[in-house]
């Protein structure tokens, strides 16, 4: 598309003949097709992923523009959102995208908005495609294949830069990295056998895995850790740490620093080229105590300042009641604490690495204090999890997930509260994964021929699982005023 920078073409309306069709077509705007590509790019960058994929089909030039890795990087992170997956007995290969744009959420009390589904690969896919492939004759029918949750289901570890790390749910072993939006996925190299240790002295183990991104070298790394704890209090843990840089064909053994003690870790979050976890003391249902940081560049553990105000508060909680999550938004580390319903708070680390920069954004007690009674219904005692949605510079918003599949979107300045409910075949158990959809292609990540990039859509296009007939949808059962919210939580809702 050539166009002189400051020139303006001729009059607005003209008629143009369409050579192929042989008829004259009124053009809406004859010179808009001469628009410089950088303006087109600016417009495309503001579109959501779905529309971008439609735009890819417009013409070759646009397909090239949108497929460029640089474009994907610029586009990424404009729209934070969440993925939801049903957590029940089925394979649950479908993820649903919940985009958090309240402006578009005026769906009224009667509408149900269907959520956009994405597919995950099947764990044991190879056995299926071998036999069934040859039996497909009638392409218009979509045969159902049998699948077994224990064989086919993936666990989701974390999301980093639009890529999901999937694992074997029984042992936490990371298996696949995929981008649900583009449908691409790669299988991680096979695990090397872990040496058996003297098991008489081992009381428990922790398997940990996470996907992280190192901006400096533009590399993605998956880390896999096996921590074995001895019986006695002073027994040092033994740690086996392996790292795979995406694109390389094997796992590397890395020596773990024996000085750093590793508690129970949860909520892996990648920020600034390092992975962070919240460390819980007291085992499985313990209290949050610390943040552990693993630097992807030096491949070493480091201590990391945690917000003492948050973790200190948990001295008095009963075990298992801490509802605390950690997440990342626009390069900032966030901690959301929804344990105390009187004081749901969100903290952000304004200055990475600086312990004093942990700042409280707000408490959401206006919501709760309106409920008054100090002994509210059991539903209220657990707000469930809390996710940051919008960065504080843009007005700060939070999504609260209540275990009965209610979402409360809270953006204090603009929207106040909005309540949504998820509907589906059996939606009582839903797993939430903070995820930002991106167009980043695994082919650019993997660089080179070592690893094969597969695509869900090409492999599984012919098959469906029975569960895929159902869909999750979102409704807005009540207007978000506090009075209605109060009635919602006081009485048993259906």
């Amino acid at each position: 598309m050539k166009r002189k920078k400051h020139s303006i073409p001729s009059p607005r309306v003209s008629q143009r003949s369409n050579k192929a069709k042989g008829k004259v077509v009124d053009e809406l705007c004859p010179y808009f097709d001469n628009i410089p590509s950088h303006i087109t790019v600016q417009i495309l960058l503001q579109l959501p992923i779905e529309s971008l994929l439609i735009c890819k089909c417009v013409c070759k030039m646009w397909k090239t523009l949108i497929s460029e890795p640089h474009f994907a990087k610029l586009h990424f992170e404009r729209r934070p959102s969440l993925m939801i997956r049903t957590k029940d007995h089925r394979v649950s290969r479908t993820l649903y995208l919940l985009e958090c744009q309240p402006e578009k959420f005026e769906i009224g009390t009667d509408n149900h908005v269907k959520l956009q589904p994405f597919k995950l690969p099947l764990r044991d896919a190879n056995s299926k495609f071998g036999e069934k492939q040859n039996k497909i004759k009638n392409k218009s029918k979509c045969p159902y294949i049998a699948s077994k949750p224990d064989l086919d289901k993936f666990g989701i570890v974390n999301s980093c830069n639009g890529l999901l790390c999937l694992c074997d749910p029984s042992n936490g072993n990371p298996l696949v990295i995929c981008n649900p939006v583009t449908g691409e996925f790669i299988r991680l190299p096979e695990a090397t056998t872990t040496p058996t240790l003297n098991t008489t002295r081992v009381t428990r183990e922790q398997r940990l895995t996470a996907l992280g991104f190192l901006p400096k070298t533009n590399e993605y790394k998956v880390i896999k850790m096996l921590v074995r704890y001895g019986k006695r209090v002073n027994d040092r843990e033994s740690v086996i740490l392996e790292i795979n840089t995406l694109g390389t064909p094997s796992w590397r053994n890395v020596e773990a620093d024996s000085q750093v003690s590793i508690p129970l870790l949860k909520y892996p979050t990648c920020v600034n080229g390092a992975l962070h976890w919240i460390g819980f003391e007291g085992g499985f249902a313990g209290r949050p105590r610390s943040i552990l940081c693993f630097c992807l560049e030096s491949e070493r553990f480091q201590s990391f300042p945690s917000p003492p105000q948050v973790f200190g508060n948990h001295n008095n909680t009963t075990r298992g009641n801490s509802k605390i999550t950690m997440g990342e938004l626009k390069g900032f580390l966030y901690i959301c604490d929804s344990t105390f319903f009187t004081d749901v708070t969100m903290w952000v680390m304004n200055d990475y690495g600086n312990g004093e920069s942990w700042t409280k954004l707000y408490n959401i007690d206006p919501l709760v204090s309106s409920f008054g009674s100090p002994d509210p219904s059991p539903y209220l005692s657990h707000y469930g999890l809390c996710f940051p949605i919008k960065h504080f510079e843009e007005g700060a918003a939070v999504l609260l997930y209540h275990p009965c599949n209610w979402f409360i979107y809270y953006e204090p300045e603009k929207y106040g509260f909005k309540v949504f409910q998820i509907h589906g075949p059996d939606p009582n158990f839903v797993e939430i994964i903070p995820h930002i959809p991106s167009l980043i292609s695994l082919k650019d990540v993997v660089k080179g021929d070592n690893i094969e990039v597969l695509n869900i859509h090409s492999r599984c296009a012919k098959f469906k699982l029975h569960e895929e007939n159902e869909a999750l949808s979102l409704s807005q059962p009540i207007d978000g005023d506090l009075e209605s919210l109060r009635s919602l939580f006081y009485y048993d809702s259906d």
Binding site: H6, T40, Q46, L47, I54, C59, K60, M61, A461
Partner: protein, 161 residues
């Protein structure tokens, strides 16, 4: 740098209207600012060739709102697609960053969830895919076409190459 004793800059649009605008507003137009800086003597009047007076009206509206901290109230809803595109190109010519971003977002909002045919028509782009290429790329991104609110592809059957 050319200095002017008054704080107003005169801008003359393509249709011959002269607007006297505050220097601060002129500063948001990088194209105009560059012209001012390059001039040796005082400039009485700066011609802005690709901009019409109705564009200037809207630009001044936007400026007033943003100075008052109400830039979010600025709306281009009343403009039809043609007019919006016109305006976008004018603002691009003037090189006004903030307003440009507002307008590209407005165009993007209008394109959201529209069909391939609509987008092509809007931009006046011809389809240069062969039927096979088009089928392949549609299939690959099929899920994006399945949303309830997406307009159906009206001219799919009429596609000919």
């Amino acid at each position: 740098m050319a200095s002017s004793s008054s704080n107003l800059i005169s801008l003359k649009t393509s249709d011959g209207t002269v607007f006297k605008v505050e220097r601060a507003l002129a500063k948001t137009m990088k194209t105009v600012q560059a012209i001012i800086e390059e001039a040796d003597a005082n400039i009485y009047m700066i011609p802005i060739h690709n901009v019409f007076s109705h564009h200037m009206d809207m630009i001044i509206d936007y400026y007033k709102l943003s100075v008052a901290g109400k830039s979010k109230e600025f709306s281009v809803e009343k403009l039809d697609n043609d007019e919006l595109k016109d305006f976008l190109l004018a603002v691009h010519y003037l090189n006004m960053e903030d307003l440009f971003e507002v307008l590209t977002q407005a165009v993007a909002d209008r394109l959201e969830k529209k069909s391939v045919g609509y987008v092509r028509k809007y931009f006046g782009i011809e389809n240069d895919f062969t039927p096979e290429e088009y089928a392949a790329i549609r299939k690959k991104n099929d899920w994006a076409f399945k949303g309830d609110d997406i307009e159906p592809e009206e001219d799919e059957e009429k596609q000919e190459e």
